[in-house]
């Protein structure tokens, strides 16, 4: 049984108030894999890369139990490239360049070896492809988690709604939740999105933490207050990887366990922002991760007698 992750494997160029990097490994599936592989293996990637994607990056992920049978390699093509500049508040950014490159021909065919998929993480790609991957699986996974973005709400809402009807957990940020639901209140937004399909809504608020809604239940996890946020790129995908990695490790899809998954995801995201790209994730130890999770416990725990 395995975790299957669909998403991009790419190059980024990043500029933050603290520095600049012209070419670094990125992509949603890359971050999810680096994060989730601390908790569960194997992880089976579904993506597309050009001949320029470094073999040593694939080897490093393979050493963490990540498989690439479902990754198309276009030898004479170039990998997806994104370039962005962050503002001082690190919550807002300008996209400078988006070169789809090989991503324009992404049409994944799941290998047979992926049919043991127990947990499916649908990273942010064209909704039609997310739906197609779901349909290719002969057995419905135990849990399907979906990420998406405002761009698809504006350009592919019909397809997006079809995917929503098939998934268990939707992860979006607060402005995306508002746009999708046409409700300003996040409580109302979550209720309306649940009516579209997913019974669990995770709303990511960056430095302001994350909310989980399910029926009338809500859970809130803060972001760790950090001395410095060096580079927020990939924090959302790293959060997703920590969440689904924890769920896959425990095989427990209850609300209570999703709360723990969100704490694990928040801890992983708090590491991600400490260095450029996935660099911090590559060097993490389980001891550091558990220490960080304990900081979350300390940050929110209180004892009140009424």
């Amino acid at each position: 049984m395995s975790l299957v992750v669909i998403g991009t494997m790419a190059f980024d160029a990043l500029e933050t108030p603290f520095g600049k990097v012209d070419r670094i490994i990125g992509g949603s599936a890359t971050y999810v894999a680096w994060s989730a592989s601390n908790f569960t293996q194997p992880i089976k990637q579904v993506s597309i890369i050009g001949g320029d994607f470094p073999q040593e990056e694939l080897d490093a992920l393979a050493a963490r139990g990540v498989a690439f049978d479902g990754v198309d390699v276009i030898k004479d093509g170039k990998s997806f490239f994104w370039s962005g500049r962050y503002h001082m508040d690190m919550n807002t950014r300008d996209t400078l360049v988006t070169d789809l490159n090989v991503l324009a021909q992404f049409n994944p065919q799941l290998p047979d070896s992926y049919q043991d998929c127990e947990f499916l993480m649908l990273g942010n790609v064209v909704p039609a492809i997310q739906l197609d991957v779901i349909k290719q699986l002969k057995n419905r996974p135990k849990l399907v988690v979906m990420d998406t973005m405002n761009f698809w709400m504006e350009t592919a809402m019909d397809d997006l709604k079809k995917v929503l009807a098939e998934v268990d957990v939707l992860m979006v940020n607060d402005s995306e939740a508002r746009q999708l639901s046409e409700e300003y209140s996040l409580v109302k937004a979550a209720a309306r999105i649940q009516a579209m399909g997913p019974k669990y809504i995770i709303i990511k608020k960056g430095e302001h933490g994350a909310l989980l809604f399910h029926g009338s239940k809500a859970f809130f996890a803060p972001a760790l207050p950090l001395e410095d946020v060096f580079d927020p790129t990939g924090a959302g995908d790293t959060f997703a990887g920590g969440f689904i990695g924890h769920i896959a490790r425990t095989k427990d899809i209850s609300f209570e366990n999703m709360k723990r998954g969100i704490i694990v995801g928040s801890a992983m995201a708090s590491f991600c922002v400490e260095k450029f790209g996935p660099n911090r994730l590559k060097e993490l130890t389980m001891e550091e991760i558990n220490g960080r999770i304990n900081e979350f416990v300390d940050l929110v725990q209180f004892d009140i007698q009424l």
Copy 2:
């Protein structure tokens, strides 16, 4: 022994996306008193009002154990008036009118009956007056809590720094903490402000909750996700009232108990925004308050085994 509260008692005109009210009771000391009086009595107000301030409002507060010996009444003057319009996000607002009226001649002289002050809440007024009130007390209170705003950072920074050196707890919002400390990171901002005097920093983030910093320790309390925020006016002062009310009731100024105070303050603030002005606070029962506090416990509690 008593809680002494300095602040405004005023009229507001409010406009939110959900409605409009031309004249309603407001002022920081009013909100603090309505909130804190659920937990501690007596509360001794230090303020100034005009002859237009309604006797029935004073009577309603008096019935909750609020004393007015330290409130100057200028019979032929008009009470402080503020008018504002909130934007859709309810976190930002435009000030339409600020009529200082009698507040321009505010020069409080503490009556002898206030010398039993055990807890002092310095609402947001001119720093020189905050300092003067501290100096008038013959015995140093057990805890001095201070609210302030960006306006004083721009116009009276020297006086503000003198007050900071005398207080235990500073309550500000995130942008004020950044402005005061000249640090973007709230962790660094809190460290720098602690070096200015207050050993406890509470950073209010509105719908994103509140942070408490003390030395290297941090605590985070979320705001309750609400279906509707009707009118945010007074939410910060109501939070302050719940905090200091809880501290005064328990007489425990430890970090652990301040965490509880922040939860109580957050619960009170979540009621405040449900109706215009202090209307919701006036009708609250202790049962409702305890129920709301329990919602906070449910919202953040999780159990993780490493």
